[in-house]
């Protein structure tokens, strides 16, 4: 026989259980880090977060913080599956007996795995930090909403823990997908839920269009809700191998935390908070920060100051060719979405906040809401919104250029058409709801009985037709000098006709009057906000200008000439060019431009049939559903 057991060297004291799970967690963390699913999750999340910002010119860090939960969804899914694989690994690989005969007890092993797989959380934090830096470098204003940013990593952690719990209790190959489906189901069920259950979804993109000062989400309570559920699930996982005090305490604490967080976050906002929200929408002046720049006064909500440099660059480029004496004094104001329906949309339909705003909407005066629409006459401040999708600079440039040449902006529109002179006059006179049009969205309908017109910032002005006037060409050219996107749009229109080609990546919209071809108009705003957001994503200037195809064509030709020469010629004869009596023929002669096509030629370029316009519009492939008929005539701009 060999040497007896008693003769063996004395073994060292065994390490503490804590050391074992800590060592195991480090090992599991390394394995999770290099798992292909983790890499896929990170890449997909990065792509998603990048895509949210793709069509945005100037994001706001606070608002964009709400994208993190959705953006990290792929990483959360990957974390869940990896957590499940880790927890079920011994079962799947048939190493249970080896594990069972090791001294590390089951609870150490489960705890080590739970902690180890949570390496997905620091990964998520790194992704979030990178996202914030990226958004900031994009010119974002404001400061990050740290608690909203934490929602994403917490969701990732919760999902990962759920994966471990599922793998511990049901260690088969497919149960991870069951857990993934269950978590996705909860998100889907709650994100569009009515009433107070709305915020119980794992994440929510609260404000698509920015405006973090309209924030209503009780994010702190939501974090507690998420943390509570994560703790509860972790406790359930630990209970797999015996009922012990610590897991039971974790479950009890988690349930209490989740319940408390869920109840608190689902409470409707207070009257004071609702009042504050409404005040910010309808009376922003008391909140604005005023910043003066040469010829321009900017009034913005706190936190948006960083956008002004970008805006001012466009405006100053427009104003640069103007003789100093001709430079207008411009005001740029930032408004939240003007209509309560939009605010409700911002807050989420059927949310407690949205409902509260709707219920209290009648207290907001109609003139205020109309004022928020903006765009009324040349003296009216240029209005910008709290989001900045691609096209905002173009809109600012158009607004500044039309004011510079003395053209009015487009009037209030409803259902795709401007109001008639009679309608506006009626409204200005009585303050009552309009007789026709806008029945679905006119603010008065949502505001209750509109109050009498205050009159100080009203009346509305009526659109006018400046086609054929030289100043329309000058305005179009000035705007394009400040906006390469606009210049590219003109070139497209010149090459292919209105309604064809890209305008900011999308088709321009054709508005056409079958009675009078001369009113065929290219609407520049085709992709300046309306279609980007599926509705009013922005305030004011949504209908920034109508430019005739003639003006567009001639402006495009001016842009092909040496710009210094054009600027000098425009400045020298500024008074003449901006005189309503000066016709486009003067510009054609002065700059040696080609005469623009006749209206029917425009139609042919656009692929439309002048002889059977309605049928060709119906079959027009480039702007399905976007071609509208303009039935009315405007007075000539004076």
């Amino acid at each position: 026989m060999t040497a007896g057991i008693a003769e063996r060297p004395q073994r060292q004291a065994p390490p503490s259980t804590g050391s074992v799970w800590a060592s195991l967690s480090r090992r599991e963390a390394r394995l999770v880090l290099r798992h292909p699913l983790t890499l896929v999750g990170v890449l997909a999340s990065c792509y998603l977060l990048w895509s949210f910002n793709r069509d945005v010119l100037l994001p706001h860090l606070g608002a964009y913080s709400t994208y993190v939960g959705l953006g990290l969804a792929p990483l959360a899914g990957a974390g869940l599956l990896v957590g499940h694989l880790v927890a079920s690994r011994a079962h799947r690989h048939d190493t249970l007996e080896i594990e069972e005969t090791a001294p590390a007890v089951q609870r150490s092993r489960i705890l080590g795995r739970l902690v180890g797989v949570l390496v997905t959380v620091p990964i998520a934090v790194v992704v979030v930090v990178a996202y914030v830096v990226y958004v900031y470098l994009q010119g974002a204003a404001g400061t990050p909403a740290v608690r909203e940013l934490l929602v994403g990593p917490l969701v990732v952690g919760l999902a990962t823990i759920a994966g471990v719990a599922m793998g511990t209790w049901l260690p088969n190959r497919f149960s991870g997908f069951l857990a993934l489906g269950a978590l996705a189901g909860i998100q889907i069920a709650f994100q569009d839920a009515e009433g107070t259950r709305h915020w119980l979804a794992w994440w929510h993109t609260v404000l698509w269009y920015g405006a973090p000062d309209l924030w209503v989400r009780p994010t702190g309570a939501h974090l507690a809700y998420l943390a509570g559920i994560a703790l509860m699930v972790a406790g359930v996982a630990m209970l797999r191998h015996g009922v012990r005090p610590m897991p039971l305490m974790a479950v009890a604490t988690g349930v209490a935390l989740a319940l408390a967080g869920g109840i608190v976050q689902a409470r409707p906002p207070s009257d004071a908070r609702t009042d504050e929200l409404l005040a910010r929408v309808t009376d922003p002046a008391s909140h604005w920060v005023t910043i003066e720049r040469p010829s321009v006064t900017y009034r913005v909500h706190p936190g948006y100051e960083r956008w002004i440099d970008s805006w001012d660059a466009a405006v100053q480029r427009v104003l640069a060719p103007l003789p100093p004496s001709a430079r207008p004094v411009l005001e740029v104001e930032q408004w939240h979405p003007p209509y309560l329906s939009q605010l409700e949309e911002e807050l989420g339909y059927s949310t407690p906040e949205g409902q509260a705003v709707q219920e209290r909407g009648g207290e907001v005066s109609a003139p205020r809401a109309i004022a928020a629409e903006g765009n009324l006459d040349g003296a009216w401040p240029i209005q910008v919104g709290t989001s900045a999708y691609i096209g905002q600079h173009a809109r600012l440039a158009i607004a500044a250029a039309t004011r510079a040449v003395g053209l009015p902006l487009l009037p209030v529109e409803t259902q795709g058409r401007p109001y008639t002179e009679e309608e506006i006059a009626s409204f200005n006179r009585t303050g009552e709801d309009l007789a026709e049009g806008g029945v679905e969205w006119w603010p008065g309908r949502e505001l209750g009985e509109p109050a009498p017109v205050a009159g100080d910032r009203i009346p509305l002005s009526l659109a006018c037709d400046a086609e054929g006037q030289a100043r329309e060409v000058v305005a179009a050219w000035l705007a394009a000098t400040a906006s390469p996107d606009l210049a590219a749009t003109y070139a497209d229109i010149r090459a292919h006709g209105p309604g064809y080609g890209n305008a900011f990546g999308e088709d321009p919209i054709v508005m056409y009057s079958p009675d009078n071809d001369t009113t065929l108009q290219v609407v520049m705003w085709s992709s300046l906000g309306w279609r980007q957001g599926g509705g009013y994503g922005d305030v004011g200037e949504s209908w920034s200008v109508l430019a005739s195809p003639t003006a567009t064509d001639l402006a495009a030709q001016l842009l092909e000439l040496p710009q210094e020469d054009v600027a000098t010629a425009v400045a020298v004869r500024w008074g003449e060019w901006t005189d309503p009596a000066t016709r486009v023929q003067a510009i054609i002669r002065a700059f040696g431009l080609e005469a623009p096509p006749r209206p029917e030629q425009w139609l042919l370029r656009a692929g439309l049939d002048p002889g059977d316009f309605a049928a060709s519009v119906a079959a027009y492939p480039h702007t399905p559903g976007e071609v509208e008929t303009l039935d009315q005539r405007y007075p000539v701009c004076s």
């Binding site: 063996r8 050391s19 074992v20 690989h93 007996e97 080896i98 005969t101 090791a102 001294p103 590390a104």
Partner: protein, 301 residues
Amino acid sequence: MTIEGNTVPDVACRVTDLSKRFGSTVALDHVTSSIGGGVTGFLGPNGAGKSTLLRIVATVLAPDTGTVTLLGRDPSKAGERVEIRRRLGYMPQEPGFHRGFTVFEFIDYVAILKEMTDRKARHDEVRRVIDQVELGPVAHKRIRALSGGMRRRVALAQALIGDPELLVLDEPTAGLDPEQRLRFRDTISRLAEDRTVLLSSHQTDDIAALCNRVLVMDHGRVVFGGTPRQLIDTAARQVWIAPERDPLVRVAWRTGEGHYRHIGGVPHGATTIEPTIEDGYLLLIGAAAAINDLRQQPHPR
């Protein structure tokens, strides 16, 4: 049943009246045994209860009845079971692997489960056992890329982590080619110099070469306990050859030379030959089968 002649002073493993059933199948039937240092081999046909006994000794399974004492401790008590596991190495009959792991990673992972929390010391130990089973050149290869023989060595290496006092190896040589088996024997022989090794095998020559004691099991019972020499001796003068097969002898087979090798039932005048351990084993199993057959016959009125 108590092993005859068990004079080992340091008893690493003692099982008393051990029984285990899986449904209606009796895996262990009142087994009693004491096992000391050195290598103890378990022989027996499939289903004899070898693996069940080894899994109980490895603390994977708990017996239905009976008591187990391992390294002086009672594995039915949680605290003592952990102490036993700290001194135990176990290689299952069909070990699974995390196939995406490298050899080093897998053994390191098991080392963590064996409470080796100091990273440097653990890695030194992992390298030591990898060298011990001669897997150094493939230490950083993924397990899925290894041959079956190499994987068995990985399984042995993980059992050796922590220099266990009690090593339980369930059919460690299954599926190995002769050269690999020789290498395995060499490794286990060296290991057995200062610890208790329990191994099961169908390979009687492995048992003969490695073990200082052997237990033969059949139908959940230990039918023999002793040294390999004693097992061989049970067949002394019981093995004989003849040109034709004797139908009355249960165990007989045709040899390469064209003769029939018979075990037991030696007729008068037959030529007996020197038995091997396999002869002893087969004789025992044959006898056990005969006893079993008798047991299954209707009781005479």
